[in-house]
Amino acid sequence: MNQRLFSSARFALIGAAGLAAAISAMGATVNVPGEVTFSKDIAPIFQRSCQNCHQPDGVAPFSLVSYKDARPWAKSIKTRTALRDKPGTMPPWYVEKNIGIQHFKNDNSLSDLDVAKIAKWVDSGAPEGNPADMPPPIQLGDNTRWTAGEPDLIVPSPEITVKGGSPDYWGELESAPTGLKEDRWVKSVEIREVNDVPAQADGGRKTVGSRYVFHHMIWTTMVPGAGIQLEDLGEGSSGTWPVHEVGRNADIFPDDAGKLLRANSVIVFMSAHLHSNGRDTKSRLLYGFKFFPKDYQPEFRYARRSLANAVDIDIRGGEANQRLDAYQVLNEPTKVTTFEPHMHAPGVRMCLEAIWGFNVQTLSCVGYDHNWVRVYEYDDDYAPLLPKGAVLHIIGYFDQTAANKNVPDPRNWSGSGNRSITNMFIDLGQGLALTEEQFQAEMKRRRDKFHWTPNQVVIGCPLCNGEPVAPPENPMRRPASTGAGAGGNE
């Protein structure tokens, strides 16, 4: 993680009732036997999920490497980790653990046991324990560390300056050559904002965006003169490049669905949404690409995700828990590879559902914090696999009250718009379009791998637990039951 954890007082500590609820939702049933010490129990957790940012000279405001570093922050650490999926939680990963799919490629969250250990450690006086119990130190990078791995290619955007007192701005930047001499399939892309805001300080403004000024970057790639863009949605399409968003994490594409970066291509920075952080800030984006091997060829093409309803939004001032809905009918069998809620300051939660006839499955519910926009990458074996005709449904929850510290004036009404203080409501996630044969083959692969039977209803794959049922040759008669193990009496 190259993003600052535990940053500032930006997030209000949730009220006692909310905190109690958060803890009881996850920690009350977790029993942590024996003494909990920093050296034996807490340091391994910090190494795994915190030290990428919380290290000396890291982007976080303090280090969590040594006991001496961590001890002064013990109470804050307990509070933030207990938030779990709510805005303000640390590390910034917001998947609700009691609903939907729980298998992601890029999950850096703490387990219920981790959180319970931290709580017990703090409640018992945050003891150091025996220093000999400390795990070997992990190798720490500097604050330019790439979470998806060291890139094969790094392309910087032009540097821009955002004045401390300036309104929102949207515009293009000069294109940047990739320098690539041959076509390559991209395995991952990680885009990081690098600016001159001191690592140990806030940006200055106590509202949305924190230290960052790039609130989004819509970009594409093309070969000058050839006009080749990624957005060709035809056969073999790579779909679109993911939009960069404030505080966003890396995109790791499926092994069978890379994205093509052409030789001699340039990055076209189509739309930078800049939002002042309250101080004059020099900033740029670094694009880090990792490639598949040179002989790689993708198996799947990307599907178009058009899951949004960003017009007609009506968010009343002073009210929490306001809801919006949007739907998309899938025109082809689809593998949903990522879920990426995109809202703005008032957004605090989004859920993704799959509606298949009268069967409705909640695929994911996640908290949302517009300082840390997350893309959630489903594990390949658990990525939603939906038939043609299924409906994707997103439910957005908005909090226009003082409890949401991203909102500059929660008393005010807020509608649709591109500003960080007005509202968007989008799932920017991506997915793969499958042929009927690919769809059946993928379901069979999972069924064989996990030995699913009709007794196991699989979240995200409503047809995975049974064999195909052939249409009747004589449509006037009911088909005979062919489901393995379906049982029942005719």
Binding site: H216, L233, S306, A308, D409, N418, I421
Partner: protein
Amino acid sequence: MRNFIASLLVASAVCLTAGVASAQLTYNSGQPVSPAYEGWEKNPDGTYKMLFGYMNANWEEEIDIPVGPENGFAPGNPDRGQPTHFYPRRNRFIFWVTVPADWGEKELIWTVTANGKTYKAYGTLKQDYEVDNMVFTSETGAIGAGVSDPEIRRNTPPVVEAVGDTVRTVKVGEPVVLSAKITDDGIPKVRPRGDQDDRHAKDWGIKDLRELPPYQITVGSSTGLWGSLMVYRAAPGGHVTVSPDQPKTWEDTRAGANSQWAPRWVAPKPPAENKWTATATFDTPGDYVLWWHGSDGALTTDLPFRIKVTK
């Protein structure tokens, strides 16, 4: 015992309803109006202007609320030039109120009560609320998700000039012709609000583009110059008939609607010499304010006409 059970039931009902988010339904009428604080801009003389608009939650009901306790500003003069006629849905960036250079952290509050509910807009100089032409252009939807270019950043608002007097006296039922010359710099160009799927319609065998469901990832609008005669203030109980039908100045996003925010709407061809004309007929005596509203799809200009209607 019965009271105890009743109390339990009430408590249970409260518990069940608290925290349940309801979807936003498309009401025709009966819903409130939320005044909206849109932002502020600094004037060259050091004063500031605060910008307001509103959201009428109804899709059909137009509401008239006279200036007073149910439609007023505080502190100070309750009449700061706000509308008294509220069109349906989102009416963005409607009117400015100038405040002194030493305004500091004070608040200017606009209260609106409609259909029994009161909402307020709190005008402040908070940094996040600073606006300029780029913000107007973006929030109106003229640059989609924010793809601007040097040309649109040079855009200036339309110029709206009165043709004839802007103060008139007419009788009830007597049509009055109101005209304005509306010109523009031609930026942005006339462009219908399309859809990314249009280019695939042929491949998909679709012969009527309207059969493609409208999709908008964020605010979006058609661009190009248009004018509209709109009612801004009406006498109590008064109704104004404007002829011919005007493009809607509010964000009617429904397919086929006569609004720059509707799918595939195209700006009308400007009239000869850019002279836009409509007639207004009034059914009740009193004072009215109508605006000739000029829009290039990104920026707007309004010119008020004050009409005194007698018996």
